[in-house]
């Protein structure tokens, strides 16, 4: 029996978080959200009119059903991210904030220095902060100490679909973390989501791979299964990979 995922005092059963960017229409996005079983949905503040309940994205994210996780993507430094987060909350966006400080517009890689700075300010403000970071174990600990609700290391650059290229560092983060580890960015296939979960990640966040799939709702369903399968495998206790074959019945068992 699995324990629930707890983020900032809130309890979730789904371990797949979903993004809302890059979809061909809000309707397709809505259907994909349904199929994914996700309970936490991230929305780029730069894309939505947070003040407007009729906004094409927001109107399709049922707040009764989903926890809205506004993100600060596009922010270049701590000051911008904090300003955006505060405005979002003032407009009814809630206490959750996915902190993204990505000064380079091409690979959208997170700035560790500004992310920590912004996290400290937002936590003082009472936000539930989920920071997007490079797979840097020490930064993860620093953020955890500052009081973030999770850490969200990237598997590979956002939108790259390249899977988990930061495996060794993510393993260390998982081993050392006292807050949930959500592998965010770069997961391009359900098998990547399963891999992250098998490694012991608490959850994954997926957007591009679902949004640009031939059939986004079907792909969302596939990611749901991948995430669940990976989680179940982790709980069941995976055998360690070995270089040589090992017989199921030990050859030297008779010696005891």
């Amino acid at each position: 029996m699995d324990t629930p995922l707890v983020i900032g005092g809130h309890t979730f059963t789904s371990r797949l978080l979903m993004g809302t960017g890059k979809f061909s229409s809000p309707e397709v996005m809505k259907e994909a959200l349904q199929e994914s079983g996700a309970e936490i949905v991230t929305v780029a503040l730069r894309r939505v009119n947070i003040h407007d309940p009729k906004d094409s994205i927001l109107a399709n994210v049922d707040r009764e059903r989903y926890t809205l996780l506004p993100n600060t993507s596009g922010a270049r430094d701590a000051e911008e991210a904090v300003r955006l987060a505060r405005l979002a909350r003032a407009a009814g966006g809630g206490d959750f904030i996915k902190l993204e400080v990505t000064p380079d517009p091409n690979y959208l890689l997170p700035d560790p220095v500004e992310t920590l700075k912004a996290a400290e300010i937002l936590i003082r403000d009472g936000f539930i902060v989920l920071p997007y970071i490079h797979a840097d174990p020490i930064l993860a600990k620093r953020l955890e100490e500052a009081g973030t609700a999770t850490v969200m290391p990237l598997g590979s650059p956002i939108g790259s679909n390249r899977g988990i290229r930061t495996r060794d560092a993510i393993e260390i983060i998982i081993e050392m973390a006292r807050v949930p580890v959500v592998v965010d960015a770069g997961l391009g296939a359900p098998s990547h989501a399963a891999e992250a979960m098998e490694m012991g990640a608490d959850a994954v966040l997926v957007n591009t791979a679902i949004a640009v799939a031939g059939d986004p709702p079907a792909m969302a369903g596939a990611f749901k299964k991948g995430t669940e399968a990976g989680r179940e495998a982790y709980l069941a206790g995976l055998g360690k990979p070995r270089k040589k074959a090992e017989a199921s019945s030990p050859l030297t068992g008779f010696l005891r």
């Binding site: 979809f23 061909s24 730069r46 270049r76 000064p103 380079d104 091409n106 591009t208 949004a211 640009v212």
Partner: protein, 370 residues
């Protein structure tokens, strides 16, 4: 080292020669997986690549979908003034053309902007001829100050300025800069820019860098298509974009594809660029620069624009008017160029949806910088 300094080691003619020497084998190497470099890009735009255009277009589509998703941003240009001190042979705003010259008052600018806002636009591009006397820094700051509550993103396409002036504009709420080199061929550049400050090739080519230094979030470049060989312009654009991305890594580079259209003064483009050429140029640049914003304006026909949506275009203007004050009055003055896509913004948005993409009116938030 500025881009101007960098290109001193190249020559227009040598690059052109290099492009035309590329073989089918070079093109295959360029299309095989691996890191893209300028030499591979040269192969991609060479005549030898003409027959693999479909393959380049497919790559461009996949890359664009991956990096940007199935979305197209919408923006509107707003002409502040057609007053100009330059004499560019291809442009109807040419100071020696006899035409009515108008500059919007701040109030007129606001009412034009309100009109665009009511149509749904949240990204606006302020355009003018090059006349500092009519469109001064203070005037621009005043206009931007009045517009910033209406728009999430305000870009400018005016005359090249000093970094300090750009900083003031950035502080007042401008987040994007567009400045076309028109042609990267310095000899032709001197020929077609007969008078005014614009004669200075170096001053112009270093403008995007001054914009990057001033902190603009988006810096746009472009070549006027039809002036010279599009293949060589494309190589310079690719090098320019990459230079800007390395040096001003916090700014997104955008590239526009202004193709010469009939204008007052009857200029005939010496090197016409066909639809096929334009597809080739745009898709090759997409393959080389996966994250660059690629813009296509209403200079192009609706059929062409609709077909280009899946091929790499990330932003489009819609319902544009290139006359000063043309959105809210029956302006008598000539526009900068002739519009080929006359659909309303709503119609363009509807078509984008029908093609299976989402029209995006807002992809920026003023709160980032203001």
């Amino acid at each position: 080292m500025t881009f101007y300094d960098r290109i001193q080691e190249y020559s227009w003619d040598k690059i052109t020669e290099q492009i035309h020497r590329k073989t089918a084998e070079d093109v295959r190497t360029a299309l095989s997986p691996g890191t893209m470099d300028v030499d591979k890009f040269v192969s991609l735009v060479s005549p030898s690549a003409d027959e693999v255009l479909e393959e380049i277009a497919r790559s461009a589509q996949i890359i664009t979908e991956q990096r940007f998703g199935r979305i197209v941003g919408l923006y509107a240009p707003m002409y502040l003034s057609n007053s100009c001190t330059n004499s560019c042979v291809y442009c109807s705003f040419n100071a020696s053309n006899k035409m009515d010259r108008e500059t919007l008052s701040v109030d007129q600018a606001v009412s034009e902007a309100r009109h665009l806002h009511s149509q749904g636009f949240r990204h606006i591009l302020l355009v003018s001829g090059e006349d500092q006397g009519m469109v001064s820094l203070d005037y621009l700051k005043e206009v931007v100050g009045k517009l910033r509550d209406l728009f999430d993103s305000i870009s400018i396409e005016i005359y090249p300025m000093e970094t300090g002036d750009y900083r003031e504009l950035a502080a007042s709420g401008v987040d994007g800069l567009i400045v076309y080199q028109e042609t990267y061929n310095p000899y032709l550049y001197a020929k077609v820019h007969k008078a005014g400050k614009k004669k200075d090739y170096r001053w112009r080519i270093e403008t995007p860098e001054r914009g990057g230094s001033a902190g603009f979030r988006r810096v746009g470049i472009g070549a006027l298509l039809g002036l010279d060989d599009w293949r060589t312009e494309a190589v310079y654009l690719a090098m320019h974009a990459r230079h800007l991305m390395r040096r001003h890594w916090r700014s997104q580079v955008t590239i526009s594809f202004p193709r010469l259209r009939p204008a007052v003064g009857g200029y005939t483009p010496p090197c016409p660029v066909s639809d096929r050429d334009l597809v080739h140029m745009l898709t090759a640049l997409r393959v080389f620069l996966p994250d660059a914003g690629l813009l296509l304006s209403t200079r192009e026909s609706k059929e062409f624009r609709d077909n280009m949506i899946p091929l790499g275009v990330t932003s489009m203007s819609a319902g544009s008017c290139t006359q000063v004050g043309g959105y809210t009055s029956d302006s008598a003055s000539a526009g900068q160029f002739e519009i080929a896509d006359h659909r309303s913004p709503e119609e363009v948005a509807e078509t984008i949806k029908n093609i299976g993409y989402e029209p995006v009116w807002k992809d920026w938030d003023a709160a980032f910088i203001r």
